[in-house]
């Protein structure tokens, strides 16, 4: 029996290398050639070459460098081939930055340019997420299509359209200037968090979660934290995702969602919690709070409670008050009301929840149902559970809601 190679079978190792290196390689080529399609095609060809050659030649000592060099040669070959028709492009290429496509310094990393371009506010939000998954996480078009539950053709068209807008509208390939960095970073973080949430509780489909998407979001956020050190909201989002991800092993029981108060906390991932808590402590020390840092702090309070009964709800309520002061959205108001129910009781909370205009948002129906149930307004609770079930497409969550509804006294 052959000895087990550390890091699993070679195919998996290749896959991991491609995933890790993809963004850096494609980003460097986009900068060099000024064209997304040329870069993507060339990197694709370099990966095919690697799959053919590495099993015999072994993985090169610097796989990212190897992929970049190979892809660059492929791109130059292609441009030469097309040069008779596209004379202008060749000229443009020879005028391009001749320096090797290696990262110059931390902040000059090409991936950072790519992140900001893919998450540009002039692109539709779903296009930002799709471009990010394709170019920064290195998912194939088919995988991105699966993540969105749309046919591959549809996703290919969406990506093509987004890239066409980048090219024709002149969306720049660079890190924004400092005066709008903060605002543009918020758009980037929103995309990362969207990817994470889709992986954490899939909006539809037969699988209740997609761990791969959550893992990609965390990986991307780690890259961002490395590239933009000292941006507290990047750290905050990373901590928020780590603390949330830590609860994954306890979230499902026989295909049914288990709510936070009923989870077996011994099954939470302690390493992720420790890392998340450490980041939250650093954020608190820094004293520049923002939306993600506060959400991370709220999750830290949950992580700190050995038992749901021992949750420091007063602390959580204070944090939601702080969040309301910087991001007063109906969704934050809803979550604050849920915390308020634990401090001041369900009547006060229900009065607030009933005033929120969130009837298309299924957590609103879930929160209402739970509060009505606690107050003993059973018939209304049943209606609220029904309404929640009607607007929930996640299988595990539906199963949970049906169980709760059916357990109501008749």
């Amino acid at each position: 029996m052959p000895s087990e190679t550390p890091g699993g079978p070679p195919g998996d190792r290749f896959e991991r290398i491609f995933r890790t290196e993809y963004a850096r390689v494609v980003a460097a080529l986009i900068r060099r050639f000024g064209d997304f399609d040329i870069a993507e095609d060339a990197v694709g060809e370099a990966i095919v070459t690697a799959i053919r050659r590495w099993p015999a030649d072994g993985i090169p000592p610097n796989p990212g460098g190897w992929l970049t060099t190979t892809a660059t040669r492929r791109a130059i070959d292609r441009i030469r081939r097309e040069s008779t028709r596209e004379q202008r492009q060749v000229q443009a290429m020879t005028m391009m930055d001749p320096e090797p496509a290696e990262p110059v310094g931390v902040v000059d990393d090409d991936r950072l340019r790519l992140i900001f371009t893919c998450c540009h506010p002039a692109l539709a939000p779903e296009a930002r997420v799709a471009l990010t998954l394709r170019l920064l996480c290195g998912l194939t078009v088919a995988e991105v299509a699966r993540a969105f539950l749309v046919p591959e053709r549809t996703m290919a068209q969406r990506l093509t359209r987004a890239k066409r807008k980048i090219r024709t509208a002149g969306i720049p390939y660079r890190v924004p200037q400092s005066h709008d960095l903060r605002q543009r970073l918020a758009a980037v973080l929103a995309v990362v968090y969207l990817v994470f949430n889709e992986g954490y509780l899939a909006s539809a489909g037969s699988a209740p979660t997609r761990e791969d998407l959550s893992a990609e979001a965390i990986r991307l956020c780690r890259v961002l934290a490395g590239l933009l050190p000292g941006e507290p909201e990047v750290e905050g989002l990373l901590a928020l995702m780590l603390l949330t991800e830590a609860r994954r092993p306890a979230r499902f029981e026989a295909g049914r969602l288990v709510t936070l108060d009923e989870q077996d906390r011994k099954r939470w991932d302690k390493d992720l919690i420790d890392e998340g808590l450490e980041i939250v402590r650093n954020c608190l020390r820094r004293g520049r709070p923002g939306r993600y840092q506060i959400l991370a702090a709220i999750n830290a309070v949950h992580a700190d409670a050995p038992d749901a009964e021992l949750t420091d709800w007063a602390q959580i309520l204070t944090l939601y008050d702080q969040l309301m002061s910087i991001a007063p959205t109906p969704v934050v108001a809803l979550n604050r009301a849920v915390a308020l129910a634990e401090v001041d009781g369900p009547h006060v909370a229900l009065a607030i929840v009933d005033r929120l205009d969130l009837s298309t948002y299924h957590p609103w129906h879930v929160a209402r149902a739970a509060l009505l149930e606690r107050i003993g307004r059973t018939a209304e609770a049943r209606d609220a559970y029904d309404a929640a079930i009607a607007v929930t497409d996640n299988v595990a969550e539906r199963s949970f809601l049906v169980t709760r509804r059916d357990a109501l006294p008749t």
Partner: protein, 116 residues
């Protein structure tokens, strides 16, 4: 450098501000135009009369058909526009934000297709 059209979209139900309001807008647009010129971003600009004085000419058939009124009855109409020159979309969006503040209306940014 690329050329962009910044078009000002008015809604039919919007009423034009009276008196001092209108003067303020005119002054703000003048200032904005000055900024465009001194940054060498100015190409062309113009404000349009309301759509109720528009005429549509259609020569796509055999005859030339002339009709009164806007091309399509819509809730929004083009109130005016700038053509500017900018290095990239970020720069154009920056000008558009200033334009929108000056004329107090939403501004659409569209790149011109390359000539040739």
């Amino acid at each position: 450098m690329q050329e962009y059209m910044l078009s000002v979209h008015h809604r039919v139900e919007d009423t034009l501000p009276e008196g001092a309001g209108a003067d303020e807008i005119i002054a703000a647009v003048d200032t904005f135009n000055g900024q465009l010129r001194s940054a060498n971003a100015w190409v062309f600009a113009g404000g349009l009369h309301p759509v109720d004085v528009a005429t549509v000419v259609d020569a796509t058939g055999g005859d030339v058909i002339t009709t009164d009124g806007p091309f399509a009855e819509t809730k929004e109409y083009l109130g005016g526009f700038w053509v500017i020159s900018a290095p990239d979309l970020d720069a154009a969006l920056d000008w558009a934000a200033r334009a929108s503040r000056a004329c107090r209306a939403p501004v659409e940014v569209r790149p011109f297709a390359d000539e040739g």
